[in-house]
Symmetry: C2
Subunit: 381 residues, 2 copies
């Protein structure tokens, strides 16, 4: 476990001490009370809440109570299109889809081809924009409601965001941006401005619906710096403060780190051939012991096992099944090979289904693009 | 005359030593050779060139020669909509219209409601956007060709600029922006990004016409920092370096400074009642002597006279007439009151004609908006 967990919008470890993150970021843990409130308001409990895959929040309770009172709410999440989508990206989207279904809410889905272009050495805007459309297919494949899900591809849909971003930008000095994001003298001015583009989406629903709208953002806690600024400026701009719920990062299949495109052999991509994915699982780093003999004697450690985590955090909603995997591991009664074969089966099944939907998403894409559905908000209201 | 001329994009004196500005900014003076080349290529001499109202340039000769060779060219200028238009703003537009007529070129006219909003304490985007449309009427009233003149209102037409601005932004570090514009820790991030939006228009013609296009920018030398960065990044982005021609600032009617909205009594606005404008001229600070007796004996100083400068720089194309005013002043044979009455007549005539055209501009506006004429350039080319 990292002594000093590294979690910024551009870098994040896995197997971090999440209770420490809550302290560092100054957020609140998802307590039993919050889960109960969510279950009451949303009429159903989600395993990602119950298992604290979503573990931290800012004003999730405020958001739920606003919805309960009948106030207008919306959802917002995003994707930085630096690579093809992998299971680590899909995880919060599955939860977001459930939220959309339960709330009947509009979801604004930002794809930040601008930011990935600004940030990544050697990236071309053509490339990040092209990847935005690849990722869009995965987003659509998750099953969001086309009539209520609105994709914003930054470089092309900037008109929806820029006037709001301008109003945010006027309130954010270089000094604040530097302190919040760790910018330096050599940071490019695109990176310096970009936070206002990401923040703008928090306030877009209020502009589009011409009605004060509570926005909930399911995302990684690494994105928290954006929302801290958003929450600071919201009242002076006349918008409700955006609420957040923070998900844990799916570990990669290697010995450490989150599932990450920078280590492709540790990531299961949605476009991986299912048999390739199966082999990745079979080669994954686990929480098992060095030898079968030790494993049978001492048992494994499912909480440090990328294979078990995939099951627990994403692929198996049934608690009893998850607990069987856990206890089989702890007791040493099932060895890693057998366990991997079982989890690989889940992965293969997931990918086959996702890839079928992803193919269909090509036709559905126009129905999801915000530019085909809303007029940009007027600059003068 | 200011010892250290203050000329930045946000501040400028009048009666500055323009030859010193050329040295400070590292530009080239408009020489007789350049005027001859312009006259040859454009088929006509303009008094603002002959009188060196446009006195400095970067690659104006390169631009003229490109046009002569039959290469595609375009014009670009802009307006920061902080106030109603006054004669100091109109001056470069008159010259730009002449250039458009002679070149038959497209003109991209940027109205930076975003930048004025970022820069001015207490400004609202609604306000600067509203003023953008007021200024647009004056731009149109100057007589530009509607089929070839394209107004870009930044906050609304950002889609035309943002992808190009992103590519520029990736090449401009905070450190460079700070050194070029004097930004500080308390500069807001809108100001930090804005230069890329202004620079983007330099490259828009090449994108829209899908053909390498030489761009000439008639503007004040105070805008030079933007174009220095534009010229630095142009080759690596595959665009021709933008060329500039720099105009002098029309002096205000007070004892010092350019005509400026920060001193409304020293400025003649295009919407001023012509009789109000006449009174402003009659009250103007001149280059005359303290008493009529001294004036008759010593003569006045037309080169320090805001009233004479209005005539020489903007209102009277006929050199012989201008010289008569000058010699009458120098000899003391005409006193300031009489001279002012004559120049006020020019101003009244100018305003009446402009206001007639400005009224008609309300109907013409849609023909000038870029969003009604071009599709935004594709992000992936």
């Amino acid at each position: 476990m990292a002594e000093e967990p590294t979690v910024t919008p551009w870098e994040a470890e896995a197997f971090v001490d999440y209770s420490r993150l809550i302290k560092i970021f100054g957020t609140k843990p998802i307590t039993d009370e919050v889960v109960e409130l969510a279950t009451e308001v949303l009429g159903e409990e989600h395993f990602m809440l119950r298992r604290r895959v979503f573990y931290s929040h800012r004003d999730f309770d405020v958001f739920l109570n606003a919805f309960k009172r009948g106030e207008r709410v919306a959802l917002y999440t995003g994707r930085g299109p630096s690579s093809h989508t992998h299971l680590g990206h899909i995880l919060p989207w599955v939860f977001t889809k459930w939220l959309q279904d339960r709330l009947g809410a509009h979801l604004f889905f930002q794809v930040t081809d601008d930011e990935k272009f600004f940030h990544e050495v050697g990236a071309k805007l053509e490339g990040t924009n092209s990847m935005a459309y690849e990722n869009a297919l995965d987003i659509i494949a998750v099953g969001f409601d086309p009539s209520k899900t609105h994709l914003i591809i930054d470089s092309e849909d900037i008109r929806y965001l820029y006037p709001i971003a301008c109003r945010v930008a006027k309130k954010v000095t270089y000094s604040v941006a530097k302190a919040t994001f760790g910018f330096t003298q050599s940071t490019n001015v695109g990176m310096l401005f970009f936070p206002t583009i990401q923040i703008a989406v928090c306030f877009l629903p209020t502009e589009l619906f011409r009605e004060s709208t509570y926005v909930l953002i399911p995302a990684g806690i690494d994105q928290d710096p954006y929302w801290r600024i958003a929450r600071d400026v919201a009242p002076t701009l006349g918008y409700p403060k955006p609420c957040q719920i923070h998900g844990k990062l799916l570990p990669g299949l290697g010995p450490e780190g989150k599932m990450s495109s920078s280590k492709p052999e540790t990531a299961i991509y949605t476009i991986d051939d299912p048999e390739v994915a199966r082999r990745k699982v079979m080669r994954a780093f686990t929480g098992g012991q060095p030898t079968a003999e030790l494993q049978r004697r001492l048992g494994g450690n499912p909480d440090r096992c990328s294979v078990f985590k995939m099951l627990e955090m994403l692929l198996e909603p049934n608690d009893a099944v998850v607990e069987r995997f856990r206890s089989n591991c702890l007791s040493g009664s099932v060895l890693c090979g057998e366990c991997k074969r079982a989890v690989a089966e889940y992965v293969v099944k997931f990918l086959k289904e996702h890839q079928r939907r992803r193919e269909r998403a090509k036709d559905l894409l126009p129905k999801f693009l915000i530019r085909n559905k809303f007029e940009p908000p007027a600059v003068r209201r």
